[in-house]
Subunit: 240 residues, 2 copies
DNA sequence: CGGACGGTTGACACTAGTCAAATTGAGTGG
DNA sequence: CCACTCAATTTGACTAGTGTCAACCGTCCG
């Protein structure tokens, strides 16, 4: 089912213009940026880059879904972030040219991105002082999110964290369907466990419980949130 | 014991010049920056700002120790970071002028800082394109640290996380003493628990065990690391 | 058709949290 | 200087919440 037909550059323009980073670029500048980038196509479960590779490029996803994850020394995965089209990732080399990627970027379905050599991108930014400010703003937001999630991981029960993860995913890539809101990506129990610091068994048990109550509907790598409000209650610890 | 005598501005210069942010400022520029800032003195267990305050200033600590922490809805504290002299904190308002501080900054001993109105600081930076780049670099490093710590919290046992926290603190504010390396701040079991997502009871039990083995020496709000290598082994899960 | 993979469920173990009670130690004021 | 107070700490007893492991099922896909 490999739908790996490369998108023509013309189709990338509207995606780039949706990216927060380029919001105050003129159409002409956007085209300049676009031309400086290299399109990359990656099929499901391949990598744009892996933890430990030299951080020579930065990416903006144009199609698909990408998981940013770390592996521990004993092989456990931890998913730090899910990237959707329009979002940047792998920007570490921008400020630290000698760095290695501290995470892996794995396509969870066939995906496409634009890639820029960090040096090239740095030069593109230098002419536009607003861009580094926008970049800082994006980093600041991400820092806040990580701090919130750190606090949650440090203080909340597994059930609350999994419920939260579902709500976050729904906000980021929810799609309205008849039964409720579908989390629009392949999402196994294992993946969700790796996002929340638990095991696939615990996620499976929680899903069973919630499904019995009609809060969600699940299938193979598929979750539909039927009653978001009930998930919010679980997050707030008011469950049962 | 309040040693809250305000440091003269002259004494602040070498501290500022140590700050990573100002590393390529000329002495003249440093003085300009210094003059634009307001000195702030805070006594132990008071706050430079609290979670929820308008993020109108950013700070560089010039003396003392500051804990950045969040509280959960049910009142639990989570310590995200310890600030030592030369480090910046509270910079969120720089890119998001309308934001509220997402953390509280509490002095864990009598402390002093320089504060700048975010607008003033922004103007100082605009003349120096390198500064926003350095800021981005600092943010990138912090993001990496948070990601690492998130992974640790998600995958490691309490014992490993506490050992890691001690090693991190030793790296940041260790001071050589006869018995080993002293963590140079008031550090209660409770604080360490709030840094590692556990309880003061568990930290106390770990300390007892480690002290019996001669790995550390502890006192009231005081920890000396006697055998750092043993802590490293605990972190790596090779203990017992 | 068969294998691989995702998922479910039960039995069990164990880490680490909770609560209670006692102890230590530092700082304070008479 | 000593008694007093309060916070920090220690330790034991108990247990809830989750992880671990094993067995099994269903389904997708080659």
């Amino acid at each position: 089912m490999s739908k790996l037909s490369v998108l023509p550059k013309a189709d990338l323009l509207p995606i780039l213009s949706r990216a927060a980073l380029f919001r105050d670029f003129s159409p002409g500048e956007l085209i300049e940026v676009l031309e400086a980038g290299q399109p990359r196509c990656i099929e499901e479960s391949s990598f744009f880059f892996q933890q430990g590779d030299p951080a020579s490029r930065l990416y903006v996803l144009t199609d698909g879904r990408v998981r940013l994850s770390q592996v521990t020394v004993d092989g456990q995965q931890v998913i730090l972030r899910v990237i959707v089209p329009g979002q940047m990732f792998g920007a570490i080399g921008l400020t630290q040219p000698e760095a290695l990627y501290p995470v892996s970027a794995e396509a969870s379905e066939d995906s496409q991105a634009l890639a820029w050599e960090t040096g090239v991108f740095r030069r593109l930014c230098e002419n536009r002082p607003g861009v580094s400010f926008d970049l800082m703003g994006m980093m600041t937001s991400y820092i806040q999110e990580m701090q919130d999630r750190y606090r949650e991981l440090a203080t909340e029960r597994t059930e609350q964290r999994v419920a939260r993860a579902l709500l976050r995913l729904a906000a980021q890539l929810g799609r309205k369907v008849e039964e409720g809101v579908l989390v629009d990506m392949a999402l196994s129990r294992q993946s969700l466990a790796e996002m929340t610091g638990t095991t696939l068994y615990t996620v499976s048990r929680l899903f069973s419980k919630w499904e019995r109550r009609g809060v969600i509907q699940t299938g193979r790598e598929r979750v539909v949130i039927v009653k978001p409000h009930d998930l919010v209650q679980i997050v707030e610890g008011l469950a049962e």
